[in-house]
């Protein structure tokens, strides 16, 4: 199968453009660093827009309210205002916290989500790295976040945090398996773990309706897997109905109860980055990555991950939270079984009809 060659990766392009390529390994390193800087800032900027502004506006739209509208057009200047306010707050470190762990947890949570974007093809040549095992890498990195959550919960020396940390671990273990097994069904279709190729395969037309060619996005090819993945993804990013680890009305925001100021910002940022990373994985696996008509790839990519962000916020406004035992039950007895059924079925279909 001949695939259209993917664009040059972003570090190489930067190396070419700036002439850093001629400095050998050091030059490549600087170019890669610059590329990572660009992508990280793009993601941070999106989280910055999402956290203080978009989340409020979206929730307000769902709940018949107006939300932030005092500073700047559409209240947009609340973003710098909130940033200054949050960073200017006193960093309160409670007595008896487990010091290095307590400080490391927010960093782990934020950086693990950030790291995942390295292998995501965002279109328009914005793609940091494209290892052959891209899909495995992104899941491996994303699941480091549970380590951060458990650390935060344990190190905080607070019972609510402890409960939240334990819930987070239980939930991530229960939902990461169906998530990955469902992703594996896509791998069976695509025949590769490499992100750029998964995207490329989806560009092929599935069928045509009145001259408009429908691409073979896996959301269309295997809608069942898509739905399953979206549900497991909600649990993975901890949003209703699966926001059990935070559950403000039960365990008072769980693992983040004792974090303030910069640490709180990091955890909060990590959460939003995680939602976007979840959205990026869904986009890459099921929605054809950055593919789309007219607009450049990166714009389509951002539109798609924001659509998935919108979906998580919709669920948050409209769905009740399940109880921890029900959550575990749904995970192990429902999602896991369904995802394996999906995997076996996909394997049979691919093996018998396509091969």
């Amino acid at each position: 199968m001949v695939l259209p060659l993917q664009e040059v990766l972003l570090p190489d392009r930067i190396a070419d453009l700036t002439g850093l390529g001629q400095f050998g390994a050091l030059g490549e390193f600087v170019a890669a660093f610059l590329a990572a800087f660009v992508i990280a800032n793009l993601m941070l900027a999106m989280s910055g827009v999402a956290g203080p502004w978009a989340k409020r506006k979206i929730t307000a739209a769902f709940t018949d309210r107006i939300a932030v509208n005092r500073i700047g057009p559409f209240g947009l200047l609340i973003i710098p205002a909130a940033a200054v306010q949050l960073l200017a707050k006193e960093l309160i470190i409670p007595e008896g916290v487990d010091r290095p762990a307590y400080d490391l947890a927010p960093l782990v949570i934020a950086s693990s989500a950030m790291l995942g974007f390295a292998v995501i093809p965002m279109g328009s040549g914005i793609h940091l790295a494209d290892p052959e095992t891209g899909l495995v890498v992104v899941f491996a990195i994303a699941s480091i976040a549970s380590l951060g959550l458990a650390t935060a919960g344990y190190a905080s020396n607070n019972k609510y945090s402890m409960l939240g940390g334990l819930r987070a671990v239980a939930q991530n273990v229960a939902y990461e398996i169906p998530l990955i097994v469902t992703a594996a069904s896509v791998v069976i279709f695509a025949g590769t773990l490499q992100m750029s190729e998964i995207v490329a395969v989806q560009a092929e037309p599935l069928f045509s309706v009145a001259g408009v060619s429908i691409p073979s996005w896996y959301a269309f090819v295997n809608p069942f897997a898509f739905v399953l993945f979206m549900a497991a993804n909600l649990a993975e990013v901890g949003r209703n109905p699966f926001d059990v680890p935070e559950a403000p009305t039960e365990i008072v925001a769980g693992y983040q109860t004792e974090y303030s100021s910069v640490y709180f910002v990091l955890i909060y940022l990590g959460e939003f980055l995680h939602i976007f990373l979840g959205g990026a994985i869904v986009t890459t696996l099921f929605l054809g990555g950055p593919a789309g008509p007219v607009l450049p790839g990166i714009v389509w990519f951002i539109i798609k991950i924001w659509a998935i962000f919108l979906f998580t916020q919709w669920a948050r406004s409209a769905l009740p939270r399940v109880r921890i035992d029900q959550l575990i039950e749904i995970g192990w007895k429902g999602m896991l079984v369904l995802s394996f059924a999906n995997l076996v079925l996909t394997a049979i279909i691919v093996g018998v009809f396509i091969a």
């Binding site: 709940t63 009305t249 039960e250 008072v252 409209a318 769905l319 109880r323």
Partner: protein, 555 residues
């Protein structure tokens, strides 16, 4: 077993309770009889409380201990047990237990009525009567370190209560960690998003499951009873009831006081005013139930979700109506002894139209709630069969209102102990047999529909009321001085349940004793029964489904 029991009807005549038969039943336990305006009171010895109450409960069928009133006279202490029947709350009897000044010890009623636990703790806390055999003789409203009993006659009001930080039990500091057990002690509150006010639940968890929960109340105690005792009947007490259940159940609370005081001073209320009161009370009930619905869903959904704001949106409309009617959105102070403060707002047509508009929109809103919450599967698995309160337990704890009705207890004072204009109107008492959190929500949602029916009929009546008959207040003396030593206990059906007021008059223009029976107080007491053995998430949901207002629990 039940065959051997004498028939309960034997203690009832056509006029009501056959007090002579009860006196024969109690036999030599009875030291004397007092006549209270609501019921006969039997004076008994302090060491025979349980015998008497067991007889009254098991033989005569008085299964509802409304409240325990404690008070101090110049020569004695006195506890009054106000008993009723869930089947017919007009059948009442009071058990008066005097104890001596030097040794105010009385036998506890807790083995007979579970609800006496908290009521007697309050009596000890505020008045200073001790209850022998009480399972948990601690203070309930005041801090453990409080000196003296504020409602006792010799209490020095000016004495500063120096409770040093070291002396004062800091609920956060203590840690009940025990290395032998695998349970965890967890303080839920005093500040916690789900406690709906300042409530402290001392919880013991086994993993995520609740082993034990002990509600610690009193953080919002504002001496409401004492303030009422320092106010004159005519005008100075009426503003306080608004501040008990500020959900707002204001008009229903005011009616609780008005009903007791009007019966005490023998004041008639014109029919026109009764219709306005009925309409206002039901508007308040809708307000209160909307808030209950919104916050209950908040506990289950988490964060500020759509359903909470929708409930607020509809509550807002009712509050606008109440503002038009009373001039205030929360602290109404609208009822007066003998009527209401003023007539409907002018132009009347506009008020009727606004109210009708609200009532017309209500079915659609209710349908929206059903679509959003009650028919949601996740919501159902969260609420059905959690927080189960069976009817016998509910009665033992003196649960009333939607909490009792969701356990299948058909008890509603608006119908069973009629007052206001309710008997003339066409409406139904809502009960559910689910006994769980879901049933409690359903009862409230259906009660909103019934309240709307009542309001609609009131509006029709008010619209056609002849202009010359629009009497809003009867003639009430400027200063009320009810006869000395008259005592009365009267209750109304507030949004949360039976709100009762006990007043003892001493011939002055202020009550000698003013006791509030708060429905939330008794309802909250059922929380451990509902949530022990369940998950902590269900504890939070059950607490939400009880719909407590801490201002009313702590008074």
């Amino acid at each position: 077993m039940s065959l051997e029991r004498p028939k309960r009807q034997q203690y009832v005549t056509e006029e009501g309770v056959d007090y002579d038969a009860i006196e024969r039943l109690l036999g030599e336990h009875v030291l004397g009889r007092e006549t209270h305006l609501n019921a006969e009171g039997f004076v008994i010895r302090p060491d025979e409380v349980q015998d008497v109450l067991f007889a009254l409960r098991d033989e005569a069928g008085f299964d509802h201990l409304s409240v325990v009133t404690a008070q101090e006279y110049a020569d004695r202490y006195e506890s009054i047990y106000h008993l009723k029947k869930y089947d017919d709350p007009t059948q009442e009897v009071s058990v008066v237990v005097p104890t001596s000044k030097d040794d105010p010890v009385s036998q506890t009623a807790e083995p007979v009525y579970r609800t006496a636990d908290w009521h007697e703790r309050e009596a000890y806390d505020l008045v200073g009567i001790e209850y022998e055999g009480h399972p948990d003789p601690r203070r309930i409203l005041l801090p453990e370190t409080w000196q003296g009993h504020p409602l006792a006659l010799d209490y020095d009001q000016d004495r500063p209560q120096i409770v040093t930080l070291a002396e004062h039990q800091n609920p956060i500091a203590e840690d009940h960690y025990d290395s032998d057990t695998e349970t965890m002690f967890l303080n839920i509150g005093p500040h916690h998003p789900a406690t709906h006010g300042v409530l402290h639940l001392k919880t013991v968890l086994d993993g995520e499951q609740v082993v034990d929960v002990d509600p610690d109340i009193g953080y919002l105690h504002r001496c409401e009873e004492q303030m009422a005792q320092n106010g004159t009947y005519r005008h100075q007490i009426m503003p306080y009831p608004d501040r008990w259940d500020y959900a707002p159940g204001g008009l229903m609370n005011e009616w609780g006081y008005a009903r007791a005081a009007e019966d005490l001073a023998d004041i008639d209320v014109p029919e026109y005013a009764q219709v306005i009161r009925t309409m206002g009370a039901e508007l308040c009930r809708i307000c209160s139930h909307m808030l209950a619905l919104g916050t209950f869903c908040l506990d289950i959904y988490g964060d500020f979700t759509a359903i909470f704001m929708y409930a607020m949106r509809d509550r807002e409309k009712v509050q606008n109506l109440l503002e038009d009617l009373t001039g205030s959105r929360m602290m109404f102070n609208y009822l007066r002894l003998g009527g209401v403060a003023w007539d409907l707002p002018e132009p009347r047509e506009e008020f009727f139209e606004k109210t009708r508009d609200f009532l017309d929109d209500l079915p659609e809103a209710t349908q929206e709630y059903h679509d959003l919450i009650t028919s949601n599967e996740i919501f159902q698995i969260r609420t059905v069969d959690t927080g189960v309160l069976d009817p016998e337990t509910a009665k033992q704890y003196g649960a009333t209102g939607p909490v009792a009705r969701a356990s299948g207890i058909d008890y509603d004072l608006r119908r069973d102990d009629p007052y206001g204009y309710y008997p003339e109107l066409d409406w139904d008492v809502v009960t559910e047999d689910g006994r769980d959190n879901y049933a409690r929500l359903l009862v409230r949602m259906r009660e909103v529909e019934q309240s709307a029916r009542i309001i609609e009929q009131c509006i029709d009546l008010l619209e056609d009321w002849p202009e010359e008959d629009r009497e809003i207040q009867s003639n009430v003396p400027r200063t009320l001085r009810p006869d000395p030593d008259t005592e009365i206990y009267r209750a109304v059906e507030a949004a949360k349940g039976e709100l009762g007021i006990y007043i003892r008059a001493d011939g002055t223009d202020k009550p000698a004793r003013f006791k509030i029976r708060s429905p939330c107080f008794s309802n909250l007491h059922t929380l451990p029964e509902m949530s022990e053995g369940e998950y902590v998430a269900d504890l939070v949901a059950s607490l939400g489904s009880l719909d407590i207002i801490l201002g009313e629990v702590d008074r």
